[in-house]
Structure formats: structure tokens, C-alpha cells
């Protein structure tokens, strides 16, 4: 739930299932968000394999928020909000940017090796492949948000 305060900024209410990490925009600190999400997912009972998937997806989303969303600005923040409702583990990664202009195509390794395509461009592909559901360019009070979901049912 979001409400707008008198000053026009948004105040986010955090509920009893929601945990938030607020990070400086510093390459390498995505590990902290990753370890924090993994810790939460472990407590609520996900199996190690799915936790590994989650860790990679969270790290990639944070890297994108830092590099593309916040354009490397050292005074910007990345906010990672996570929630488990008993069925669905969802992680939202927020940055202060405008969102993704165009969703990239899946990487083509042959083209990359032949140098017909840049070696980068793997993050969003991995996030989509590893998570059960992904939403891009959601509007949040912080700016742009990527939301990803892991379902408990899929053998934890």
C-alpha cells in the first residue's frame, strides 16, 4: 500500500510479512541483498536449489538497478523489498531510473562468440529463466521497480 504525504513523496507501509533492504548504489553490494534474500528464503523453507536461483536473480536485478536504473550515481539508492505470504515469495528491486526502454532479446551465444553481439546482456534472460514470474517497469514510490516471484509449490 502506498500513500502520498503532504510533501508529495510516498510513504510505504511495510506489513508483517515484508522485509526491506536499502542499499547504497555500489557495485559489489548486490551480494548483501542477495545474502539477505537467501536468509529470508531459507527461514521460510525454500530448498537450496531454489535459493540459488533466487540469489542469482536478485543479484542481477540489483546490478541492473545500479548500472542502468541509477546510472552508477553514488548518491542513489537501491531498495530491495521482499515478502512471503505462505505461498509466494516476491522480491521487488527499486531504483531511481526510468525503467527499461526495450526488453532485450534472448542472448545468442554463437553471435557473442563470433563478436556479432556484445558479450553482455545476460541479466534479464537469467532472471526470467530462473524465476516463476517477472514484472518489469512497475511504478513505485522510488521510481522504477522490477518484481519477481518464486512459488513455494514448485517442490519448494
Amino acid at each position: 500500500m502506498n500513500v502520498t504525504s503532504d510533501q508529495g513523496e510516498m510513504i510505504r507501509f511495510l506489513d508483517e510479512q515484508t522485509l526491506e533492504v536499502n542499499l547504497p548504489n555500489k557495485l559489489g553490494y548486490e551480494r548483501i541483498a542477495m545474502d539477505c534474500t537467501a536468509s529470508f528464503a531459507r527461514i521460510v523453507g525454500f530448498v537450496p536449489e531454489r535459493i540459488s536461483d533466487l540469489k542469482t536473480a536478485v543479484a542481477e536485478a540489483c546490478l541492473n538497478a545500479m548500472e542502468h536504473g541509477n546510472r552508477g550515481r553514488s548518491d542513489a539508492r537501491v531498495i530491495v523489498s521482499m515478502n512471503f505470504d505462505g505461498q509466494t515469495f516476491s522480491v521487488s528491486v527499486m531504483d531511481e531510473g526510468e525503467g527499461i526502454v526495450e526488453l532485450p532479446e534472448d542472448p545468442d551465444i554463437e553471435k557473442k562468440i563470433e563478436r556479432l553481439e556484445p558479450p553482455r546482456g545476460l541479466g534479464i534472460f537469467l532472471i526470467r529463466r530462473l524465476m516463476d514470474h517477472v514484472e518489469f517497469n512497475k511504478l513505485s514510490d522510488q521510481g522504477n521497480m522490477l518484481r519477481m516471484v518464486l512459488k513455494m509449490s514448485r517442490s519448494h
Binding site: 557495485l27 559489489g28 540459488s52 543479484a59 546490478l63 554463437e110 562468440i113 558479450p119 537469467l126
Partner: protein, 114 residues
Amino acid sequence: MQQNEIRIEQRDSVTVLEIQGDITVFSEPFLNEAYTCASNQGAVKILLQFDGNAYINSGGIALLIQLLAKARTRDQEVAITGLSAHFKKIFHMVGITKFAKIYDTLQEALQKMS
């Protein structure tokens, strides 16, 4: 911030690069130096041995792709070992396995490569 330690060892015909630490964009100088050094010594079969606990991200994988691209132009064979089950899966997803064989153990890699 983050550093890698890379040891280069010749095992018969195979040049092993034993890479300690995470593989991210910060690995670029370390990985490039080790690869260049091995190539200058005339390596034709290169085995990248990762640390099973390493954190590898898309920035690190992009570096590996660049290394594989260079190796291809020089007709070098590159193989990989020391990956956790998770990163084996990731390397398959991305297609790295089309250009570098993945072995479960150093022993198996050395045996199959020579």
C-alpha cells in the same frame, strides 16, 4: 574491492588456471592477465578451475565469453571445472557449454583432455 588469485599450472598438455574468488566484472584484470600469460607460454588446452563457492554473475560470465571468443580465434580448447550445480545449470542456460566442456572434477578433466 574484490580480488582474484590465479595460479597457472602445466599438467602434461593441459594448462590449468586455478581461479580463487568470485567471478564478476572486477575479475577482468586478473582473468585477462592469466589468460594472456598462459597463451604467451603457448597453451593450446586451457582448463579453468573455479572455486566451488564462488559467486559468479552476468558480468563475470561476459568476461568468460570474451575469453572463449579469443581462444576460438587462436584454436585453443577451453574447458571448465569446479562449478557448483547451480552454476553448471547457469552455464548451460547461457550456452557456454557449446564452446567449453564442463567437467565435474579436475581429474576427469585432465584425463579427458589429454
